[in-house]
């Protein structure tokens, strides 16, 4: 290791009832790729948020280039040449790449030597130059809203480079990327190191860390387990240290699957579906598929390729432009949302806080959100409030939903995992033949993630038809029976999951159909 550029000594951070970081110490050398490995909830993000000035530690100190620093705000962190790419990008969507990059530090010129104005044109040249130097391939004049996730992420990287950041923190940077995009990002990260930058990579994906990282700190439940030289350690050992037990490295589940012949009757049949997106362009084009009883049919793809629109169209939230959707043989293409719920469609939406729940409503009301009109919840025009309480009590027990007492407290105060469990409980209890899961485990800690996948697999076992949409390829490989790969609103390939390779799926996700 070369001289230390970042030293974290005895960092402790407590939240009420939990210690997020417990006496964590390590130092990072200039010009290395340092990975921080751990499960969701292990304290990785908290630790890096402390380094980036978003939290103050309760104990310990931070040294940057050997000097003790009190990093009280992200602004201070930027002054110390620290940059961070968050999971949620902070970009102004109606601005161009360059405008986003210079925001907050805009160079200006004077018009006719008088009126000062922001020099966007001149900045574009600098952005181009930076982009070329690090192999980022970004067009400085493009609007953010026209770019895909990977492109937007590269803009975030450019933002750091434009501010001459030397220490670059990446928070789970590959969560939303295809395998090919991931490969490109890892190459960029290596490029950055080769240009003398120090990179801190937060991840729970061993493969990536193994591929690029020089050293790696492993966190488990807030404690530092060990610091390893990555090239000299095998992944099985790293995985064991991260989880605290043995885990299969291959994402594919070992549980036996029902062969194709065992699937039951067709529940959902989609034929030649076309849907317009919110911006008025064709989001889904001529998509056909069927989902049978006992089958998990997964749609793989990069976010924004029409998946949400397919789910919304099936659930009745998006208008079917052409084509036919039928459920158990009945054409439901023009049915109302309510009629479809009645016919047997349950839907766990991607945006759980803005679509799946009414955050200001109590948990009990949210659990009954699709049943409130029917007995025992309502008799005629009036509600029976006792039934709400009883129902909430039962579901809270059965699905282990915490954080809302006996169901009278608003769901706003609940954790993300419990909110998701509440939605899944509500949808499963509909007893529908078809259940649509969109990104069901996004942002959940590993415990909740396992619970959710168990519930999904249990429903499959009960003979439900399941439509799974996920941007996480690992999840799809782990759960799906059949996988369809969507690109630009069209299915490029539909196949049983065992007869398609990860690389193939990855290629189709990028829109590559041949070779």
């Amino acid at each position: 290791m070369s001289e230390a550029i970042v030293e974290m000594r005895h960092i402790t951070k407590r939240f009420p009832g939990i210690i997020a970081n417990d006496d964590v110490s390590f130092s990072i050398g200039r010009g290395e790729i340092f990975a921080i490995l751990g499960e969701n909830g292990a304290g990785k993000s908290t630790l890096m948020s402390i380094l980036f000035g978003m939290y103050e530690p309760d104990g310990g100190e931070i040294l940057i280039r050997g000097i003790p620093e009190k990093i009280s705000s992200p602004a201070r962190a930027v002054e110390l040449d620290i940059g961070m790419v968050h999971q949620h990008f902070t970009l102004v969507r109606e601005y161009t790449v360059t405008e986003n990059i210079i925001l907050g530090d805009e160079p200006w010129k004077r018009f006719l030597g008088l009126l000062p104005y922001v020099d966007v044109k001149g900045s574009e040249a600098k952005v181009s130059e930076l982009s070329a130097r690090y192999g980022l391939d970004v067009d400085p004049g493009r609007l953010i809203e026209d770019m895909d996730v990977a492109g937007q992420q590269r803009v975030e990287i450019l933002k750091m480079l434009y501010r001459d950041a030397e220490i670059l923190i990446f928070d789970e940077p590959t969560a939303m990327l295809t395998p090919a995009e991931t490969g490109m990002l890892l190459k960029i990260i290596e490029n950055l190191r080769d240009n003398g930058k120090t990179v801190i990579l937060i991840s729970h994906k061993l493969r990536e860390i193994k591929r690029v990282a020089d050293r790696c700190a492993i966190l488990n439940r807030g404690k530092l387990i060990d610091i390893l030289d990555v090239p000299g350690t095998d992944t099985a050992r790293m995985a064991h240290m991260m989880v605290g037990r043995d885990v299969p490295i291959d994402g594919r589940s070992t549980e036996a699957r029902a062969p194709a012949a065992d699937f039951g009757d067709t529940v959902l049949s989609v034929d030649g579906l076309a849907v317009y997106g919110a911006d008025g362009t064709m989001a889904v084009n001529d998509v056909s598929f069927t989902v049978r009883r006992g089958e998990i049919f997964a749609i793989a793809g990069v976010s924004g390729n029409g998946q949400t629109e397919i789910a919304d169209a099936v659930a009745g939230l998006a208008e079917v432009q052409s084509g036919r959707i039928s459920l158990n043989g009945d054409d439901i293409s023009r049915s109302s949302v309510r009629a479809r719920i009645g016919k047997g469609i349950a839907y766990i939406p991607e945006d759980r806080q803005n679509v799946g729940l009414i955050l200001d409503f109590p948990l009990g009301d949210n659990l009954a959100l699709k049943k409130y009109r029917t007995p025992p919840f309502a008799g005629g025009a009036m509600l029976n409030r006792d039934a709400f309480d009883a129902y909430a009590g039962r579901l809270i027990d059965e699905y282990d939903i915490r954080g809302a007492g006996c169901g009278r407290a608003a769901v706003r105060g609940m954790s993300g995992g419990n909110q998701q469990k509440a939605i899944i409980a509500r949808e499963i209890e509909l007893g529908a033949d078809l259940i649509i899961f969109v990104q069901p485990t996004r942002g959940l800690d590993i415990g909740a993630m396992e619970q959710v996948r168990c519930m999904m697999s249990a429903e499959r076992g009960k003979g439900k038809a399941i439509l799974l949409i996920s941007y996480d390829l690992d999840e799809i490989l782990m759960c799906a029976d059949t996988v369809a790969v969507i690109y630009g609103g069209e299915f490029l390939r539909v196949s049983p999951v065992e007869s398609i390779s990860v690389d193939e799926i990855g290629r189709y996700m990028m829109g590559v159909t041949e070779g």
């Binding site: 939240f15 103050e56 939406p349 200001d360 025009a381 509600l383 995992g417 419990n418 800690d445």
Partner: protein, 393 residues
């Protein structure tokens, strides 16, 4: 538990009232007058305290009933605001809907010469339904054409004001009063010139309807299927649509109902509290009702209390002006301040409740407090718990 919750919900309006009264006192002091005298003047003028002397045939009860007479349309108007708010909409066109309903009822029933027994139910019916139409139009513009309800209701306010002024001036004007011709006594929803024990009273019997409506509205909000849907649409349109509710229908129903209450406010105002319409003006009541409803925390029962307060301010202001020498307009100033402070309810609540969380939050975020610190901590707590329990097994 329940008692404490009620107390808690009362603390915010209490603080809003105290702040407003403090501002009231400061302004009165600034004009060189005595705030205590002004305050007592308001209470005396609105009948809650005895005056030093009364004109012949009047007494304290006369004043009380006059205040109740004004309270009746105020109750309806505030309910109109509260119903719309429940459905996620701002009905700031209550004044216009009042005028429309008042005008339609005046020209259809007011001048008909019908006996009370027939006229009263007809006035109530015509008032409510014409108000509902006016409100429904705003709802229609919103759900069909995506027109912001605040802008459209203001435009309708002006349109009603001018167009009705035109009709009154051309056809129904009383050349002496410059108002519309007075409606008959038999039609007027407030019984005037009632003599009891030598005192003269105005009996606003429709207040009973208003109070019943408040209770019914509360039941509607908390116990009815439609009320549940309406609140769901009001809180989160996308989730409501996802749950299978018709957002459009709920917006329409909300504005229909809100307009109906505004219509009832209109008839109890123009064919009750007054007996004629002054062309070219809108009643300020539709706007005061926003203050009343928000002071009452948009709760039908809270509105009754807030209505008494706001109406008393208005009714007592003339008398206060006489004895304290303060301009009566200060009453509307105080009403404006009440609205301003109740708009800060979130912040007041936060300061009241968040004391403990605030201190922890400050430490955690180095002084940068964030309102959802509590939620974040809750989340951390939850995760911590599940983590611990997972550890046990």
């Amino acid at each position: 538990m329940k008692g404490r919750a009620v107390l808690k919900s009362l603390s915010v309006p209490a603080i809003a009232i105290l702040l407003s009264l403090a501002a009231f006192a400061a302004i009165v002091l600034l004009t060189g007058k005595n705030p205590a005298v002004a305050f007592i003047g308001i209470l005396e003028g609105s009948g809650w305290l005895p005056r030093s002397g009364y004109p012949l045939g009047s007494g304290q009860l006369t004043d009380v009933f006059r205040t109740l007479d004004a309270l009746t349309p105020m109750m309806f108007a505030s309910l109109a605001v509260a119903v719309a708010f429940r459905g996620g909409l701002f009905n700031i066109g209550v004044s216009g809907q009042m005028l429309f309903a008042g005008f339609v009822s005046t020209v259809t029933i007011g001048y008909s010469g019908l006996p009370s027994s027939a006229a009263f139910p007809l006035v109530i019916f015509v008032g409510a339904s014409s108000g509902a139409l006016a409100g429904g139009l705003i709802g229609l513009l919103k759900c069909r054409f995506n027109v912001n309800e605040v802008v459209s209701s203001i435009m309708l306010n002006f349109i009603f004001q001018y167009v009705i002024s035109f009709f009154i001036n051309t056809s129904y004007i009383d050349p002496v009063s410059r108002h519309s011709a007075a409606v008959g006594k038999d039609v007027c929803l407030t019984l005037t010139d009632v003599f009891i024990g030598g005192y003269i009273f105005r009996i606003p019997w429709a207040l009973a309807i208003a109070l019943a409506c408040a209770v019914l509205t509360l039941v509607f909000f908390t116990k009815s299927v439609r009320g549940f849907e309406m609140a769901a649409v009001g809180k989160n349109t996308r989730a409501a649509r996802y749950a299978g509710m018709s957002v459009e229908r709920n917006i329409l129903v909300t504005m229909f109902l809100s307009g109906a209450f505004a219509g009832l406010a209109g008839v109890t105002y123009y064919l009750g509290y007054y007996d004629s319409i002054m062309p070219g003006t809108l009643s300020p009541m539709g706007f005061d009702a926003i203050a009343t409803a928000s002071l009452g925390n948009m709760h039908p029962i809270g509105i009754i209390a807030a209505g008494v307060l706001v109406t008393s301010l208005g009714q007592g202001s003339t008398y206060m002006s006489n004895i304290a020498g303060v301009r009566p307009e200060i009453a509307s100033l105080v009403i404006g301040l009440i609205l301003l402070f109740s708009a800060c309810s979130y912040y007041i609540k936060y300061r009241l409740e968040g004391g403990a969380a605030l201190r922890v939050g400050k430490k955690a975020r180095g002084g940068k407090m964030a309102m959802n610190t509590a939620a974040a901590e809750n989340e951390a707590l939850e995760d911590g718990r599940s983590g611990k329990e997972a550890g046990k097994t």
